[in-house]
């Protein structure tokens, strides 16, 4: 062996080692914590590097583009783009990788013996290593967040900081739950296969059982809320992690702003799992390393649970069979065969798990305890389902017992008042607590009938059950949700009562949010954030003054609005959209405001416009008339055949589009000449036809609106051409081709 020198590095290591003063506390060991950081550093650095790259590409890149283009939208830096990658990487990849790496010592006898011989309590090993793993996750997330914070601090742009911080928080919470589940797994299973299986069981099986159970009970009784609309504990999104994972299956929600209740629930669940893991980890015998599980009992439970996951499928069929029998008095024998086959499959899974986890076929011997547990699980699930159905049917309130109720009365209110509410208003209406004994009486009567019909399997066959509402009833301290089907008479009473006895409802139906509440707000033609906010504020105020609940183009003389806004608003952990908020002559104040914004950027003359376009890489200008008057032939034609675009060709600066059915060159030249001569600077008169000029310059899309002379030659020619074309097309099929000709 060759002697190696005492290098400066060795000296440093020794000095660092000497300075270190290990803690002797029961639940944390600095030594193990720093050991964990060292052991996890390769994974941690790779993760931090990937997060840094992501932040540069997704966040910083879009920030640079937005800054250069002057106008920054409120949502210019929102988490949606990076959401999927960050979220999934963090808890589906990184935290499991780190946890399995750090706790791998439990899988070998010598590793296990070594760590348990150290002067560190088992609790301290568990806590300290877990904190090490989390430190690397937090470092990675901070690396990702830094550019966003920098942009916000140095005010070079606008960021949806609350959204980003909410995303980071929900990722950390999901990681906590994942880590806690993995700690249970490493405490009861001793090889990687078993640990992965137990992790998945702990993370998802409880919620799968709740979701399945509820889904089956709701399907059987047909009077429970749909799962996505169930509240509190039953909703899969209550658990942030399952909410994200179940979202692609339509059972959860992938949101960057989870409800506070979901965050707290997930943290609470993590704490419970962590406490269980702590107990199991402390009890885990070192000699269990290299065994499939920490004890024979644990192995039986795990294998029974794995098989039970598969057994959920025949359970669904069993309940389907029961439903068929109830509804039709008989069932298809195929059900029995399918159920038997699927239970056979679950037994195969049971034995296969035991063999694979023990790496030995002999492990399939003595399965009786495990099979007994498997049987008990099936019986318990069906028993609980049966109890849930009985409890659902057994709920039979009196009208007097209902303190108040809430319901999805948006449609009902619209019918009552002949209005069209927006989504925000409909949300407010759904949360409004209604105290009305007459309506309460309708609810309990309808519910009683629904229960009886459900028991007989005729709920949808009964013609009386024709109007559905999802009703939440407050009865004492309880809150009960039911889907209630009302008869036409009952429904009419409800409508009448809502209309005449609850003035607050109309007020709510006409509510609009504060634009600042929106996480995303957009206009078709205005890109300046502040201007869009002002337009929204003006529009909402104007609509409320007019006593309108929505803004549509129904009463406007224009088929298409001058502009339309749309918003997304996070409310109580859900996202609501408000769209088609039209600005037209029916909202004159807002329309004037819009025109003033457009006028600000209006080049002083057509020559100036041409110069602007000259300076651009390529200039393309399009014009189209926004025809006033819904009832005339021209607007009817445009409504039927779509917006007609005419492009103006002026010199060599522009591209033009040719339409085979319209003599565009001639007509558009006329319009362009008129624009130059007469329409430039002419303020549009709301209610009269408007000429829209649309061009691109400096990467921005610009719209100008001019008052169009309806009596002018150009417009008259345009009208004539369109009407002639209408006659031609009656005889031939029209293929509209959009092409560019230089």
């Amino acid at each position: 062996m060759s002697k190696d020198k005492l290098t400066a590095q060795t000296e440093k290591t020794l000095l660092a080692a000497k300075k270190f003063s290990p803690s002797n506390k029961s639940f944390f060991s600095k030594g193990i914590y720093f050991e964990g950081l060292r052991q996890g550093k390769v994974v941690g650095f790779i993760y931090a590097g990937i997060m840094a790259l992501l932040s540069i590409v997704i966040v910083f890149g879009s920030a640079v583009v937005q800054v250069l283009s002057e106008d920054l939208m409120l949502t210019s830096l929102s988490p949606e783009d990076g959401l999927g990658i960050v979220t999934y990487m963090s808890f589906f990849l990184i935290i499991p990788a780190l946890m399995f790496l750090l706790f791998h010592f439990l899988s070998t006898r010598k590793g296990s013996d070594h760590f348990y011989s150290l002067p560190v309590t088992r609790s301290a090993i568990l806590v300290s290593y877990t904190l090490s793993a989390f430190t690397w996750v937090v470092i990675g997330l901070l690396v990702f967040l830094l550019p966003i914070l920098a942009i916000n601090i140095f005010a070079v742009g606008s960021v949806y900081l609350a959204g980003w911080l909410a995303l980071m928080a929900s990722v950390i919470v999901a990681c906590m739950l994942t880590a806690a589940a993995m700690l249970i797994a490493v405490s009861v299973a001793s090889n990687l296969f078993g640990q992965v299986a137990v992790t998945l069981l702990v993370l998802f099986l409880p919620r799968v059982l709740i979701t399945f159970g509820y889904f089956l009970a709701a399907g059987y009784t047909e009077i429970l809320f749909p799962l996505y609309n169930s509240s509190g504990f039953l909703n899969p999104s209550t658990n942030i992690l399952t909410g994200i994972v179940f979202a692609p299956f339509g059972l959860g929600v992938f949101t960057i702003m989870p409800r506070l209740s979901s965050v707290l629930y997930t943290i609470g669940l993590s704490a419970v799992y962590f406490a269980i893991a702590l107990v199991l980890f402390r009890r885990r015998p070192s000699e269990a390393a290299e065994e499939p599980a920490s004890s024979g009992l644990a192995q039986n439970i795990i294998s029974a649970l794995v098989a039970f996951v598969v057994a959920l499928i025949p359970i669904v069929l069993l309940i389907e069979l029961a439903t068929e029998k109830r509804n039709h008095g008989s069932y298809d024998v195929g059900f029995i065969i399918a159920i038997a086959a699927l239970y056979g499959l679950s037994l195969i899974v049971f034995f296969a798990y035991r063999a694979i986890s023990a790496k030995s076929l002999s492990a399939v011997r003595r399965p009786w305890s495990g099979l007994a547990i498997f049987l008990a699980l099936n019986i318990a699930f069906l028993g609980i389902w049966s109890l849930a159905v009985s409890a659902t049917y057994g709920f039979n309130p009196t009208a007097q017992s209902i303190t108040y109720f809430k319901a999805d009365i948006g449609r009902t209110v619209n019918q009552a008042f002949g209005i069209q509410s927006n989504q925000y208003a409909e949300y407010l209406l759904s949360q409004y607590e209604i105290e009305d004994e007459v309506i309460d009486e309708q609810i309990v009567t309808a519910l009683r009938r629904n229960v009886q019909d459900s028991k007989e399997g005729t709920i949808y066959e009964n013609p009386q059950n024709s109007n559905g509402l999802q009703v939440t009833m407050k009865i004492g301290a309880r809150t009960v949700n039911r889907k209630v089907l009302f008869s036409d008479e009952e429904y009419a009473i409800i409508i009448d009562r809502l209309k005449n006895n609850h003035p607050k409802i109309l007020e709510l139906a006409r509510s609009f949010p504060e634009p600042e509440e929106a996480s995303h707000i957009q206009s078709n033609i205005i890109t300046n954030e502040k201007e869009v906010l002002e337009l929204a504020r003006s529009l909402f105020a104007e609509l409320q003054e007019q006593g309108r609940s929505s803004s549509s183009s129904v009463n406007s003389v224009y088929v298409e609005p001058l502009d339309s806004l749309w918003l997304t608003i996070p409310l109580n952990g859900m996202t609501y959209w408000m769209s088609d908020l039209f600005i037209n002559e029916t909202t004159p104040k807002t329309a004037e405001l819009l025109l003033s914004y457009l006028e600000k950027r209006n080049p002083g003359s057509l020559d100036e416009l041409i110069l602007k376009l000259e300076a651009s890489k390529y200039g393309r200008m399009a014009m189209y008339p926004i025809i006033a008057g819904r009832d005339n032939e021209l607007t009817q034609h445009m409504e039927k055949y779509g917006t007609d675009w005419i492009t103006a060709e002026l010199g060599t600066y522009y591209e033009s589009r040719d339409y085979e059915y319209l003599s565009s060159d001639y007509m558009t030249s006329e319009l362009a000449l008129e624009l130059a001569r007469e329409n430039w600077g002419r303020v549009p008169e709301l209610g009269k036809s408007i000429l829209s000029v649309n061009y691109e310059a400096d990467g921005k899309n610009v719209v100008l609106l001019f008052g169009l002379d309806e009596n002018g030659a150009a417009f008259r020619k345009y009208k004539q051409a369109v009407l002639e074309w209408r006659e031609q097309e009656a005889q031939q099929r029209i293929d509209v081709e959009y092409g560019y000709y230089g």
């Binding site: 190696d4 005492l6 290591t13 270190f20 050991e35 060292r38 006898r109 004890s295």
Partner: protein, 320 residues
């Protein structure tokens, strides 16, 4: 914190599922002694050592060191070093990394001492330990344990499988450390010969039970082999009539070989009365002492000790 280092094992029972590996064991390891635990494979030596080290939890009974329970007692474990039969090092670690690991956890770990010992044994500090030979790995583990400055050292088959040079180096390290620190040590082994040189006292485990415990010096002096030749013909009775306690007797012609439990002086005095032609007292090996002691207790250990001898041979072949 210092305290008594006496290891007290009281009624220790350990079961793995349905198998009882240790059965109601009780004995004491005196403070400052080097105590050997010997037995065949499956006797329960490693299990017992792990219970003492606080790695395993006993099914019943109690293990205390200086009156304190070991399991999850971090303060006590600071003073305890355990070198198992199968060594563990952090994946991909070199010796310096392991020094870092131990320094982070043991209060009294002396990194300088660890480096010094590594230099003495000429172990490369920056080479991955996974590339070391078995002997080098054991030396690493020994260095790390010693540098932790423990008051209690537990070695599980530390010397087994090592070549004579490596074995010598490790043994020297340990004995120097134990003596200088006045530590208490427990060493398990298959090899009685190995323990004979190193230990003060021994315990023999078999099938989870304690068969025998004794000081080595007492063991060695408890039995004597006497060879005596008389001019006249004689029988066993002749010898017995002198008052000697005979454990074993064999005679060929007028030469008898006797294993007696009396002391040397007494035996010589009693046999001198017969005016022997030859009278020699010969030392017994520890294996021979064990065999006869066990026979006294009703055990026949010929086969078992043969097994121990075979496993010793096999281990030495492997080391070479």
């Amino acid at each position: 914190m210092t305290g008594s280092n006496e290891i007290a094992i009281k009624n220790i029972t350990k079961r793995f599922e349905a198998d009882e590996v240790l059965s109601d064991l009780t004995f004491t390891v005196p403070e400052g002694s080097i105590f050997g635990l010997v037995g065949v494979n499956g006797a329960g030596k490693s299990t017992l050592l792990r219970i003492i080290a606080g790695v395993y939890r006993q099914t019943a009974g109690e293990v205390t060191i200086g009156g304190e329970r070991v399991y999850e007692n971090t303060a006590l474990k600071q003073r305890l070093a355990f070198i198992p039969d199968e060594l563990y090092f952090l994946p991909g670690a070199n010796l310096m990394r392991m020094i870092q690991h131990y320094a982070a956890i043991y209060d009294r770990f002396d990194p300088d001492e660890a480096v010094r010992l590594a230099n003495v044994l000429e172990l490369p500090r920056f080479k991955s330990i996974s590339q070391f030979s078995k002997g080098m790995k054991r030396q690493c583990a020994t260095i790390l344990a010693i540098a932790a400055n423990p008051d209690i050292l537990l070695f599980d088959e530390t010397f087994d499988g090592l070549d004579p040079i490596a074995r010598g180096a490790v043994k020297r390290l340990l004995t120097e450390s134990i003596v200088s620190k006045k530590a208490t040590a427990v060493i398990t082994s298959h090899s009685l010969r190995e323990l004979e040189d190193t230990c003060d006292s021994l315990a023999f485990l078999h099938r989870g039970g304690l068969v025998m415990q004794s000081d080595i010096s007492n063991l060695k002096t408890s039995l004597l082999k006497v060879q005596v030749a008389l001019s006249d013909t004689f029988t066993r009775e002749t010898i017995e009539n002198t008052g000697i306690s005979i454990l074993s007797y064999s005679q060929v012609g007028r030469v008898a070989n006797i294993i007696a439990t009396d002391g040397r002086e007494r035996i010589e005095a009693l046999l001198s009365e017969l005016d022997p032609i030859i009278l020699e007292t010969l030392p017994l090996s520890l294996e021979e002492v064990f065999t006869y002691e066990m026979k006294q207790r009703g055990y026949n250990f010929d086969d078992i000790l043969g097994e121990i001898a075979d496993s010793n041979e096999a281990a030495e072949k492997e080391a070479i």
